[in-house]
């Protein structure tokens, strides 16, 4: 069953001569339990795709369905609630709150979403698997890029969302960590029936994926099934 679907979505920025068509008539679908990769060169439109799939912005045309609901015209408030509840973001950069410690990043989620978050044991296990359990009292700027990235992954998973959208989640990880994160995503998809959509240049993730799309100059095409 598809939990996220984009139908004929286009997105353009700017107007007139400055107009950029970042996405061109894209069709996309991800099922429960799938790890989907989106690959493509810089500037192809991958981040733009994620913002639209995650209801951070609206497409210029086309429709976005999340869990069978048409969310294309959600108000900002509805979109906030949708993200909080259904979508976990791992952003390309700068995605932790600088003045909260690792532990407090999770407490913040508890403050705004009272139910349905991971149990304490599950969180501890997750932090262990990601190798960051000894970092809980540190501020983001005290962490390396790779550690920040893993905290961001844990944070996205903490609210137990149905869909995870990640932009270059392995960019600053060494090979060993990439394997671990790849396995973690794969296990989550299979065991907890999540749809995991990863934008990446990282070919090392290919073997953990179920589907690979390629984004080229705003066009999206299925490369591997």
């Amino acid at each position: 069953m598809s939990v996220i679907e984009l139908k004929d979505v286009s997105k353009s920025y700017g107007q007139g001569d400055a107009k950029v068509n970042a996405l061109k008539n894209i069709n996309f679908e991800a099922q429960k339990g799938e790890v989907v990769l989106i690959e493509g060169p810089s500037g192809a439109g991958k981040s733009t795709f994620l913002t639209i799939a995650g209801a951070l912005q609206k497409p210029t045309s086309g429709e976005v369905f999340i869990g069978k609901k048409d969310v294309t015209n959600y108000s900002p408030k509805q979109a906030d609630a949708l993200r909080l509840d259904k979508i976990g973001f791992v952003l390309q950069a700068y995605n932790l709150v600088p003045y909260l410690t690792v532990r407090e990043q999770f407490i913040l989620v508890d403050k705004v979403k009272k139910t349905g978050n991971l149990s304490k044991e599950a969180l501890d296990r997750l932090l262990d698997e990601l190798g960051i359990s000894q970092l809980v009292n540190k501020y983001p700027k005290e962490l390396s890029g790779g550690q920040q990235q893993r905290v961001a992954i844990a944070r996205a998973l903490y609210a137990d969302p149905a869909i995870i959208l990640a932009d270059e989640p392995t960019a600053s990880l060494d090979s060993e960590k990439v394997e671990e994160v790849g396995k973690l995503f794969k296990t989550l998809a299979k065991q907890k029936e999540k749809a995991i959509i990863l934008v990446t240049h990282d070919l090392r993730l290919n073997k953990y994926s179920d589907k690979i799309y390629e984004m080229l100059d705003g066009h999206l095409s299925l490369k591997k099934k």
């Binding site: 408030k77 993200r83 600088p98």
Partner: protein, 350 residues
């Protein structure tokens, strides 16, 4: 609250500096207003201590006690009650070899009238005889002591200080209280003069040839320099207040604007704008409340260590309105960017 406190804790220096600024501004306003209230009260201290409600003066005195004289003839229709007190006033220069020469006001009273009865003695007693005076306690700070003999206005007659009194200042000058007979001697004039004016602690409405009553406010506003002084201070404090409130609002606005990139990240995570607005608002309020409360405490301390010669006085309503005004401005400063917070584009976080 959670976000607000965590951020303050993390950015101690930045928030500390802003609190310091709010603190200093609040302290400045408290200080200036207390000084101005102090000064104003030294103008009217005696008038207030007499519980003045109305004053009977000569028509041609331009509502000035010192310019007024009332004769028996003027007062033949005036029915004096126990709420009325005759007062004779005259400026004096008080001299004593060992001490500083003092410019003061002599006020003559009748011993059977209420002002005399109500005088508040700090040490010694009230003046009973014609060669005695009781003076404002400020003269004690200037070195005068009980039993000192002084001359008034350069005459040879010596007067003995028999008491120090509380709240005995008018127009910022200390008062020497004595008898009506002494007043008549110090202010040579036509016979039949009874007093400079009549002070009443009840409202009264009296009008006769050459004489009429005035209410307290009219009388006080006509004290020399009083109105000019007060309006100068009011303008000064008013401007200071408005400008500082704007400065505070602007600072808090800049503070909030600097947080927008973080807010984009939080919005992308699905944190509702309501939470972010709450954080901004409570942060502004925390800073302003800490700043003004500290300023208030320092103000209390300042007043307690200020030498008695500096006129300084609390006016609760000024303190309260300053604090309220600052909190309000803090809230406004934090809320001006509310539109920007609502419009934060979460896609900017990507």
């Amino acid at each position: 609250m959670f976000l607000a406190l965590k951020e303050i804790k993390y950015e101690k220096l930045r928030y500390g500096l802003i609190t310091l600024m709010i603190f200093l501004i609040a302290y400045l306003i408290f200080m200036l207003s207390s000084l101005s209230v102090g000064l104003a009260s030294e103008n009217t201290q005696a008038v207030n201590s007499w519980q003045t409600q109305a004053v009977v003066l000569n028509d041609n005195s331009n509502v000035s006690l010192s310019q007024s004289l009332l004769t028996k003839e003027d007062l033949k229709d005036f029915k004096k009650t126990k709420n009325d007190s005759y007062v004779g006033i005259v400026p004096i220069v008080m001299k004593e070899k060992k001490h500083q020469t003092i410019s003061a006001q002599f006020i003559g009273l009748n011993k059977d009238e209420y002002i005399y009865k109500d005088l508040e003695v700090v040490s010694g007693r009230k003046a009973k005889h014609n060669d005695e005076i009781a003076v404002d306690q400020i003269l004690w700070n200037r070195g005068y002591r009980l039993g000192d003999k002084v001359t008034l206005n350069g005459s040879d007659q010596k007067y003995k200080i028999v008491g120090f009194l509380k709240n005995a200042k008018i127009n910022i000058a200390p008062i020497a209280y004595g008898t009506m007979a002494t007043w008549k001697k110090l202010r040579p004039m036509a016979p039949n003069v009874e007093a400079s004016g009549i002070i009443s602690k009840k409202n009264l409405d009296f009008k006769a040839k050459n004489v009429r009553s005035y209410d307290k406010q009219t009388f006080v506003n006509k004290l020399p320099g009083y109105t000019a002084q007060n309006s100068t201070f009011e303008l000064m404090i008013g401007f200071l207040f408005v400008i500082s409130l704007i400065v505070i609002a602007v600072f808090l606005y800049i503070l909030t604007i600097q947080k927008m990139p973080n807010y984009a990240v939080l919005r992308a995570q699905g944190i509702p704008s309501k939470t972010l607005i709450g954080a901004t608002l409570s942060q502004s309020l925390i800073l302003v409340i800490i700043g003004t409360v500290l300023a208030y405490l320092l103000m209390l301390l300042t007043v307690s260590v200020m030498p008695a010669t500096v006129p300084i006085d609390f006016a609760p309503w000024i303190m309260i309105s300053t604090i309220a005004g600052m909190i309000l401005m803090g809230a406004i400063g934090g809320l001006i960017p509310i539109r920007s917070i609502l419009k934060v584009d979460p896609s900017k976080a990507v």
